[in-house]
Structure formats: structure tokens, C-alpha cells
Symmetry: C2
Subunit: 541 residues, 2 copies
């Protein structure tokens, strides 16, 4: 024997649906066998999917997992390395990997390093393992690790000391901007340093607010990359190990994505998976003539196809003619179902009903919110009647400072741009336009000054700092955890910083009621940034 | 010296507001000194408040905590035992207690047992301590524990083996029905068994969805209760230790609350704290003539006073005359601001605008939702204009099965009955009525069959099983984690169980966008029951 082959199952589970997942795992194992693979490595917790949250606490999970083992036992002539929930006889629950050959379990590994920070809550569910799993097969010495383990130097060093040649790593590593390449760069260094090869199989697909990019890879002990699977694509990828040369042979791989392409594809996959796995026939959104809804529309069309996308323009007194023109134009270019619904009669009926209560109170944001809520209710009416999911179109800059209306433009089941700052929204729109000769988003949508069009001649920049300034402050406060004083020291205007931080702090209640949306940053709201609503923390140091 | 005195600070912190908390701690220490106390024991993490969530990760926390120590150091002639976040020199963060006398720190204890289940996420923030703190003072041997520690037999046993006479326990133990007495009964047993006295100081007050009931107590090593502080009341309570008799002298205590009184007062306190600490001038709610809004109104009035409560009745075609009568009558009895706003013109304007889109589609829940959303938008308009917080009125039974309209009756910042099953709503209404000669909730509101009045002659029981059956199934599924098969085996109708579970599962997206509301059960939605929205788990076993 001169070589053996390992397949990486870049697998997209349906969380909780163990039967369907196992079925697909068997299909992937058969695909690997077609490629003459000797071993196939699946992602972390592949039978159940990651993160299953409190489904992990359901009493029948172990029974269901046992059934999964029985089905997988029928796969012959290939070694399966897969993730599962190990409800062990010692009464503890482990995040585990099984090595199975022809129905025999050759070994079980319990994850030793349980992340419990950022988006992770593994200590809520699992007990830490304390033993390595090393096995020899095909004359080669393998070790098994699960996700966080490979980022824990001690765990990898221990395998190196046991003379392991290749580590099989099962992962469910969530995406954030730049992370696919960051993983590879970091582990190349480690592989070289410890003289150990790394076979890294990652989950792919969107799950609620989390995106798993896949981008599985194989790194030789020289630090050379042998395989890099494409991001955001479910498939089986195979490498061959040359026993003589003691190295995995280099496989021609797609080149890494540019940042905007990477984010764009991440959002497309997240949207597709949310819509399809929730069983919606299509989506609907409000198209305003502004850039957020324009970009959301483009992503929706790329995710599920123009025939499944409906957009509605809902003009009012303050809607400019060019907004209507641009929205109509984009809808035409993208070939989606499009309609216009004036909201004057609705807003007027609200105003009339409220008049006796309002008396002579001067107009304020209340009247603006009525417009937004009239639109939200219309969208929900169309959604309820025909079953399409409402996509919410707000961006992270807006949501951070509460520049959005609860039950108005915030309605929807999935907020595509929830974790995308406005400055990135512009970049993504330009990126999408660069892909085709006739840009799908009319140029004017990108170049005109952003406006919510909720009062005459309104511009976002009347109430907010310029978006490049706003986003820089938000990034410093949210992603970098800098204090108000730190940010002012960086050179930003004191009054502006104080205003922005105050808005971020006091709008927690609003964000808490917003729908989920895909995480692409290093600190997304909700799962990752858990702040109390009633919160007396004073800004400052 | 024949005796010494210990005060229990039943303290209600403002989460994150360390300055204000320390100020109040100093006031409580002074009150204790007035009562000639030698020691005062504060709750867990008293300087910051519990749970502070990701505020614990803010870099300046240690600086702020140091300032708190400086201020507390000025308190003389009483020993302070208080909770704080210990950013230790070893780089770890601990959930800790300090023993301070005349500005000197005599000892620090790091919590050894960190709960990371149910509503708790302490392993996200803290490292476990590994050492006991025992000190002699006033000729008495004290040990210190923090909350979960006292429920960990080993920790208490170790203190008993060290001949500790009294354990000072700092707590932030969240309320659930029956828990105040459950704690006492359990620890009486333990105190007697291990021959150790327990001085238990608990946080009081509402914090977002969590209620801390206080109900601090002192148990002698004989198992006898020496002091039981009232639930839901912030104050300082003092006991005297008789050195000769080696026992805390019995203090006359209020008797324990009946279940409905306990729940009612819990909801009142939670509502008051949310409204006041968020800085709202008052509240507004939609009064429908039904029991949920009637009870919510009564709780609101008891929480913040009739002068700060506004209610609006928003009738439509299907609203019965008796609903209008009953709502008006209750508003009058309670002396609140009350108005009526017909929603016909609004619903009609929505229907007309949607007509070209709907074509000949038959009427369905869409039209019902338009009514609910018209009402929601009116309430939000009144809230935006005058600043009152909208209280949402839905109950746990409804929210469980999605029998409620997102952006409609679900609007609001605080859902008072969110964790209260409908059968308990009835009991609470009867309880509240029993307190006064003229019941505040008109009798008919309690006795007539519940209806959402969204279509002609609609009754809740047209689409749902009877509430006693529904609630029993929900309790089994949500609180007891029983499977569909288990519940059917208990004797419930198979089709009904299947329908209920399907509704619970598929309405996770709706609950996720609902506002927070006080937790009173052993498994509340959101913080405690964390389910994925996209979820392929099949009911059954």
C-alpha cells in the first residue's frame, strides 16, 4: 500500500433532526467510498447538529443517538469518524467523537476543552473529557480532537508527544469575517511547529443566527496546505496520503474569497438555510429605495431565486419620487414580484383615532413610527395571507443606536443585515453590482445620502454622525469593549461619543425584541453580547 | 458579653450601578448599627447586583470595584460581609465575598460551586474557588458560603468538620413558586443534621425577567427557624445570638404567604422595579374586557399607583358590549385614566390597501391579526407620545402555543403574565378580588368563557383544549420535559397532545420576539428554555 485516502464531510445538519442527518451522513459516506476513501471525518456533533441548545437536555436524546449508531453501523468498508452526544454510563453527558468501522466502535473521544464564552455555552450541557484517543490504522497514527481542543496548545502538544502523525479534528466553528483564513494561517504554524498533520472537517450551513462556513482543510506537518474546501458549500472533499513522502498530496483548491465576497456568500447561505429549513415558500420585504432593502433584496434573490421573492414599496408623503423610481427599477432588473401600496389612508386613520388623545402635543417621532408601523403591519398581512417570510432590512449601525422602529421596520423573521455595519452595507452593494454588467442595484441607491424618509427632507446624518464615524465608535464600543473615555481619547468628539454610547445602552430593550439575523462580526448582539435591559452601568471609564 | 447581633441586608441592587449600590449598602450598614448589630451580611455580588451578565466582562469593572471598597472602608464599628467581583491577581475572575472591619479586609472567599444550568451562566464569567473561609469573631466561629455552595452538601459538610458554628450565606436566589419555603424547609433539615446554624441573606427585587424574593432567614443548629424576613420587601433584619444558649433568639416573623399571595406580590414587585428602574413615568395597557388585561391592570395599579396607569379599550365589530362595560367598570373601580378608541377606520384602511393584493383569498387569521396590530400600533403611539411603558397582557398558555399576535397584542416592554398559565391567571384574579369588599375585577370577567373576540362568537376553546387540559399538557412538556408519548401515556387525548406540542415547537420564533416578563415557574421561556428556532427535532419519544 502506497497511500490511503481521507474524505472530509463538509456537512450541513438540520439541527435536532437526527434521522435526516444520519441519512445524509450515510450518503456522504457512500460518496466518499466512490472516491475510494478509507476514512471519512464528519463535523462536531454531526448526528444532532450544532448548536442544539436545550434539545441536548431532552431525555430521549440517548435513545435517538443509539438508533443513529445502529443505522451508521450498516455502513461498511470505510471508517466513520463522527460527532455525537455521549450520554455516558457515569451519568455525564459528553461532546464526543466515535471511530466506527464496519459497525464496530473502535474508540470514543470526549471533548476536553469546552468553550463557554462568546456564542458558546458548552458547559451548560457537557462534562469535560480527560483522555486522548489515539489509534493506528493503515500504518498511520491518528489522534482525534474536537474543535476548541485544537486551539488549546496543550491538547495538541500531548498528541504530538504521543507521536501522532495526523490529527482528525471535528468542528462546528462559527463564521466571522476573516475567520476561514485565520484558522488556516494559525494551524499551519502549529502543524509545522509540532510536526503534525491536521485534517480539519467543519460544519457548513446557517443555523439561526450562526453561520458555519465549512472551509474544511488539510495541512501537512510541513505547514503546507494540502486541501482547502470551498466556503459555504456542502460536499465531500478527499485527500490522498502518500505513505512514502509522508504527506497529503496537494489538491487543487479554489482560492480564498475576498472579504466582501466572503461576507456576501455567508449572508446568502444563512438566508437560504433559514428560509428553506423553516419551510417557507418564499420571502417578502419592504423595498424603500434605500440601500439596506436594496441589498437585502439582492441577497434574497441570490439565496432562493427571484420567483420566490416579493417586494412591496409603501410610499408616504415624505417618500421621494426617486425612491419609488429606484425601487421599481431594481425590482424590474431582478425580476421579482413587486407591488406598490400607498400608506396615506392608514396613517391618516391612525392620526385621526389618536387625535383626541394627542390634543395639541407637537409632532415628534411618534408620527414617524406610525408610518413605519403601518408598513410593518402591511408586510405582516401579506406574509400571513400567503405564507412568505418577512425579511427585516435594518443594519447593525441602526440597531445599535435604535435608529429603527420596533414593530415597524423591525418586523420580520430574519434580519439579513442585522450584524452588518452600514459602511459594510455600501461595500457589499458595490461588490454585488460588480458581478454583472448591468448592476442589480441602481447606482443612485448607493450614491445618494441615506434617509429614512419619515419627515420632510430628512437625512440620517441629521440625527447621527457620518456613518464612517458612527461605525468606528460602535466598533470600538461593541467589538473592542472600549470605554467611553477610551474612545474619546482615540480622538473622537466627546459629545458624539457620549450620545452614541447612551443610545447603544438604552436600546437594549429594542434589540431584544428584534428578530434573529446572521452573525458575521466578532461581537454580534443577542447570543454573544448579553446585556441586562435594566442596567445602571454608567458610561465613563 | 452575653450576646452579639447579626443583621441581614435584604438588599435590592440596581444592576451595574455600583455607586448607587454602595451608597445604599452604607445606609443599610448604618441602619444595622442603629440596631446595635455587630455584623451585617449582604447578598451575593451586592456591589454590582445579580445577574449583571456581560457587564461582568467590561474592562473597567475592577477599577470600579476598587472604588467601592474604598467607600465601604469608611464604615466603622460593624463587620461588613458583602459580595463583589474579584478580579484576582492570578488573572481569574471570581464571584466573591469580603469580610471587612473598620476598613480592613479580614478575608476573601471565592464561590466554589458555580451554577451553569437553568437561568444561570456563571461559568461564562467566573472561575471556581477552592478554599474555605472560616473566621473567629465575638468568640464564635463563622464560615462564609455563596448561594449554590449551600446547596452543595460537600461544601457545608466541610465547614461543619471545621467546627464552624454559623455559616453566613450570601445569596441571589431567584424566585419561583414555592421556593421561599422550599429553601427554608431544606436548610432546616441540613442545619439540624450537621449541627450548624445558617444565616441566609438573599437579594430582593426584580431584574429583567428574574425576581429575587428576599425571604432571608436564620436557622439555628437545632433546625429551628429564628428569623424569616418578609418576601418582596427591602429592609434590614436583625437577630441576636445568645452565647449562653448557643442559639439565635427567635424573632417574631410574618407568616409565610399563601401561594396566590406569593405569586401576586412577586408580580407586583417585578413590575414596579422594571417600570421605576427603567425610568418610565407610568404604564399604559390595552384593556379588552378579558381576564388577562384585567389582572395585568390590577397588578400595575398595585405596583405603581392608579395615577400612573392608563388603559385604553379598543373595540371592533367583534367586541361584545359586555366587554366594553366590564372594562369601563374596572377602570372606574380602580380610578385609572381610561379611554376608548374604536379601531374600525384603521382596520378598514388596512383592508382596503391590501384588497388588490389579497384578491379573492378567503378571510383567515390574517384579518384577525390586522385587528390586533391596529391595537398594538395605537398603544405604541400613545406610549411614544407620552412616555408610558406598554404592558403586554398575554399569559404563558397563549405564548406557549402562539395564540397571540406578534406586533399586535404582544407589543410592550414588559409582559406581566408571561410566565403565568391561564389557570393560574384565574386564581390570581380571584385572589385579588378577595382582598377588598368591592372586587376590583368585575365578577363577569372571571366567569365568562375566554375569547380573543377577533371573529364573530369566537371562544378560546374553539381552537384550544379547555385551559385545565392545555395547561396540564404544557406543564408536562415544558416544565417536566416529558415527551409526546409520555404525555399521551398519562391519559391525554393523542390528537390534542400532538397539536399542542406542534404549536409549542413551531412558535419559538414568536416567543423570541416577545418582550421579557417575570419568571415565576420552574421553567420560563427565554433565559431558561433555550431552543433553536430552526429545529428539526421530531416529537414522539
Amino acid at each position: 500500500m502506497n497511500s490511503f485516502k481521507i474524505s472530509l464531510a463538509q456537512f450541513s445538519p438540520h439541527i435536532g433532526n437526527i434521522e435526516a442527518n444520519v441519512q445524509k451522513m450515510i450518503e456522504q459516506a457512500n460518496a466518499a467510498k466512490q472516491q475510494n476513501a478509507d476514512i471519512i471525518v464528519f463535523p462536531e456533533l454531526s448526528t444532532l447538529g450544532y448548536p442544539a441548545e436545550d434539545l441536548l437536555l431532552r431525555p430521549s436524546l440517548s435513545k435517538r443517538t443509539a438508533a443513529a449508531f445502529e443505522q451508521l453501523a450498516a455502513v461498511k468498508d470505510i471508517v466513520l469518524v463522527f460527532g455525537f452526544v455521549n450520554q455516558a454510563e457515569d451519568g455525564h453527558r459528553y461532546n464526543s467523537a466515535a471511530v466506527m468501522k464496519d459497525g464496530q466502535v473502535l474508540g470514543i473521544y470526549n471533548k476536553q476543552n469546552l468553550p463557554n464564552y462568546s456564542v458558546f455555552d458548552e458547559k451548560r450541557y457537557f462534562t469535560e473529557g480527560h483522555q486522548h484517543l489515539v489509534f493506528e490504522y493503515l500504518g498511520h497514527k491518528f489522534g482525534v480532537l474536537i474543535c476548541e481542543d485544537v486551539w488549546t496548545l496543550e491538547s495538541v502538544q500531548q498528541l504530538a508527544q504521543l507521536n501522532v502523525e495526523s490529527i482528525l479534528v471535528l468542528n462546528a466553528s462559527p463564521y466571522e469575517v476573516g475567520k476561514p483564513q485565520h484558522r488556516i494561517v494559525t494551524l499551519k504554524e502549529l502543524a509545522k511547529q509540532l510536526n503534525i498533520s491536521i485534517v480539519y472537517a467543519n460544519q457548513v450551513g446557517g443555523q439561526d443566527d450562526l453561520i458555519f462556513d465549512g472551509t474544511s482543510f488539510v495541512i501537512n506537518n510541513s505547514g503546507e496546505l494540502a486541501l482547502e474546501a470551498p466556503s459555504f458549500k456542502e460536499d465531500v472533499y478527499t485527500v490522498e496520503y502518500d505513505i512514502q513522502n509522508k504527506a497529503y498530496k496537494k489538491v487543487e483548491s479554489a482560492s480564498a474569497l475576498d472579504t466582501m465576497a466572503e461576507i456576501y456568500q455567508a449572508l446568502v447561505m444563512a438566508t437560504r438555510d433559514y428560509v428553506q429549513r423553516s419551510g417557507f415558500p418564499g420571502v417578502i420585504l419592504g423595498l424603500s429605495g434605500g440601500i439596506d432593502s436594496a441589498l437585502t433584496l439582492a441577497i434574497a434573490v441570490d439565496a432562493i431565486g427571484a420567483d420566490k421573492v416579493q417586494a412591496v414599496m409603501m410610499p408616504y408623503t415624505y417618500t421621494s419620487q426617486i425612491s419609488v423610481e429606484d425601487a421599481t427599477e431594481q425590482a424590474k432588473r431582478m425580476g421579482i414580484t413587486f407591488g406598490i401600496a400607498e400608506i396615506h389612508p392608514i396613517v391618516n386613520s391612525f392620526m385621526q383615532t389618536l387625535a383626541p388623545f394627542f390634543g395639541n402635543s407637537p409632532a415628534d417621532a411618534t408620527e414617524e413610527n406610525l408610518q413605519a408601523r403601518s408598513r410593518g403591519t402591511l408586510l405582516m398581512g401579506l406574509s400571513n395571507k400567503f405564507g412568505n417570510l418577512v425579511l427585516s432590512t435594518g443594519n447593525k449601525s441602526e440597531l445599535s443606536v435604535g435608529y429603527c422602529t420596533l414593530y415597524g421596520d423591525m418586523v420580520g423573521g430574519f434580519a439579513v443585515l442585522k450584524d452588518v455595519y452600514k459602511t459594510i452595507v455600501f461595500e457589499l452593494a458595490k461588490y454585488r453590482n460588480s458581478l454583472e454588467e448591468i448592476p442589480v442595484i441602481p447606482e443612485r441607491v448607493i450614491t445618494r445620502p441615506p434617509s429614512a424618509e419619515l419627515r420632510p427632507d430628512q437625512k440620517d446624518q441629521d440625527s447621527l454622525p457620518a456613518y464612517d464615524v458612527l461605525d468606528a465608535i460602535l466598533y470600538a464600543y461593541i467589538e473592542e469593549d472600549l470605554s467611553q473615555d477610551d474612545i474619546i481619547t482615540k480622538g473622537f468628539d466627546q459629545a458624539v461619543v457620549e450620545k452614541v454610547i447612551k443610545l447603544v445602552d438604552r436600546n437594549e430593550y429594542k434589540r431584544r425584541q428584534g428578530c434573529i439575523g446572521p452573525r458575521i462580526s466578532s461581537r454580534a448582539f443577542s447570543r454573544e453580547r448579553r446585556y441586562p435591559i435594566v442596567n445602571g452601568w454608567k458610561p465613563g471609564v
